[in-house]
Amino acid sequence: MDSCPHCNCFAPDTTCALGNMELSQCPEWKGAAPEVTTLDTEKDDILLPWTGSALGLTDLSFVTGRAKPIIVGIAGPESAGKTTLLASWYLLLARSLLTDKAWQFGGSFSLEGWEAVASALRWAPGQPPSFPPHTSSRGARAPGLLHVAFRQENEQLRDFLFADAPGEWFQRWAIDANAEDAEGARWIAQHADVLLLAADRQALSGSRLGAARNAFQLLATRVAAERRGRPVALVWTKADVSIAPEMEERIRQAVTSVMPDAAEFSVSIFPEGTGNTGVGFQELFRWILGTRRPSVQLPSAAPSGNDPLFVFGRR
């Protein structure tokens, strides 16, 4: 069936946006007279408002409808391990090792998205785990968002969204805040409630360590300028790789000099000793769960008399 070409009109599903009782009298309407719809059993199907893949801006409203979720943005250069971080969290979640009883897994509307991210770290028949594939940018305006909900001990359900963003965005954004192809990074900077800064120990000890250090310092400065008081954590990824102490100090300083309250974590998927949870993932996740949005401080009203009815009367 034809629909109305007018941008704000959804006729014939709704009545004419211009107020014409008869569609045929509307100057905008070009379609044929609406047919009588027959109830088809196939059309009786109920489609779901979520697809299971990472959420985009369109289906986001389904999650944000009940309350604003906590959005966690992970900023860092390419192959710093941002996707591996997400994958590790999901694998731990799937074995109920990520959180304790105080934060119980309460569902996710992007399970397939999480599975896709985590699949590389799983053992497939005849295939050992590998690094997750590079997150491609495709010039999107916003990152894919992975959703997960946790129920707290007080029965409250809190939604969290994790942004799976490609590293290029941040590299460009660090250099030019208004770069055309850094739209996604700006989106994260604007909407994230918690920002993680990934410092790639492998790159910082590799052959191009100078460039890596420089890129990180620029990114840290940019994040500091845009954070508006939000919690930030410095996350050392690939913690199993050792780097020069001088370098470590420089990087830490790049963060703490501009964001003295930044938390610091180290993560690695290679376990220390016999552990089966990797290193640092649980600690970092619990820190994220514990972060709070700054709340509104109401000014206190001093009473001006003894009469409780007129406590707030004029002075």
């Binding site: 009786d44 199907d45 109920s96 090792l97 397939e112 785990p129 590998s130 089966n276």
Partner: protein, 279 residues
């Protein structure tokens, strides 16, 4: 005392034993030496006729056709005089698989979900795949990233969570607080083939940790039972003599939450009738 109508939504993929449990439950109700018995005659026994016939001879019944969905209404009563009518469905498990795969819920399924007072989720742990990952089975070095996105399989655990989320959405239930109604009972079917000891909750928590957390955080009082409707594997064409002689109602057991084994397989359903009365 008012007559309660318990409409049960049995949720289970193919091959988890929906028909076998239905037939065995019905047989117990008719024979009537269990916590729950038939008070009158069932409206229609046809859906389970074939399964009951096969079991009486000691044979497993055939696969229920994919498109079938039939409900039969059973008037039931328990020892303390509570009565109700139980609406028990039988259907081909492919329908549940299709719900997950096609991500859409047919209109009839919505009506079923909406009218159900209790949900019974059947899981056969033996058929659930669990894959090792980087953490459960670490390796020293990771392989190179695959350039093209390799085809990945969604884990069974997350499929079941998605299924429950879909049904909750279709039933129009919000996620804000833990749910009392509809109640959720998880039956871990074919318990005999698992060869485990211990209570069903622990077994489920161990094998499906994320699903268990989800259920525990979504329902106020989810119940988990181990169930073996047949007690031993039966073949489809080779009759089991013991079955034929003693009768199928002498077989089957339920593992209660504390790990004790009882022969009365009507208990998980009888509990629903009792629960409803308290409210």
């Amino acid at each position: 005392m008012s007559v309660k109508q318990q409409s049960i939504l049995v949720i289970g993929e193919s091959n988890v034993g929906k028909t076998h449990y239905g037939a065995q439950l019905l047989k117990r109700l008719i024979v009537g030496d269990c916590a729950l018995r038939m008070a009158g005659a069932a409206s229609n026994l046809k859906p389970f006729e074939k399964a009951m016939d096969s079991l009486a001879e000691g044979m497993a019944t055939e696969h229920t056709p994919a498109t079938t969905y039939v409900e039969s209404v059973w008037p039931i009563a328990d020892a303390s005089g509570r009565s109700g009518s139980l609406i028990w469905p039988d259907y081909g498990g492919e329908q549940v698989r299709n719900l997950i795969a096609q991500r859409k819920v047919p209109g009839q399924w919505r009506d079923r979900v909406l009218s159900a007072t209790d949900w019974v989720l059947l899981i056969r742990l033996h058929t659930i795949r669990s894959t090792d990952d980087m953490f459960s089975r670490p390796i020293a070095t990771l392989g190179k990233a695959n350039a093209e996105e390799a085809h990945h399989q969604v884990s069974d655990q997350s499929k079941l969570i998605e299924l429950l989320q879909m049904l909750l959405y279709v039933a129009g239930l919000d996620r804000d607080a833990r749910r009392n109604t509809p109640s959720l009972t998880v039956l871990l079917t074919c318990w005999d083939e698992l060869g485990v000891k211990g209570n069903p909750q622990e077994v489920m928590r161990e094998q499906l940790p994320m699903l268990f957390s989800f259920i525990d955080s979504t329902w106020r009082e989810p119940a988990v039972f181990g169930l073996s409707a047949l007690e031993k594997p039966l073949s489809q064409n080779d009759p089991d003599q013991e079955y034929a002689i003693r009768g199928p109602e002498q077989f089957g057991f339920v593992i209660l939450a504390d790990g004790t084994r009882i022969e009365d397989i009507t208990v998980p359903i009888q509990r629903l009738l009792a629960d409803e009365d308290v409210v």
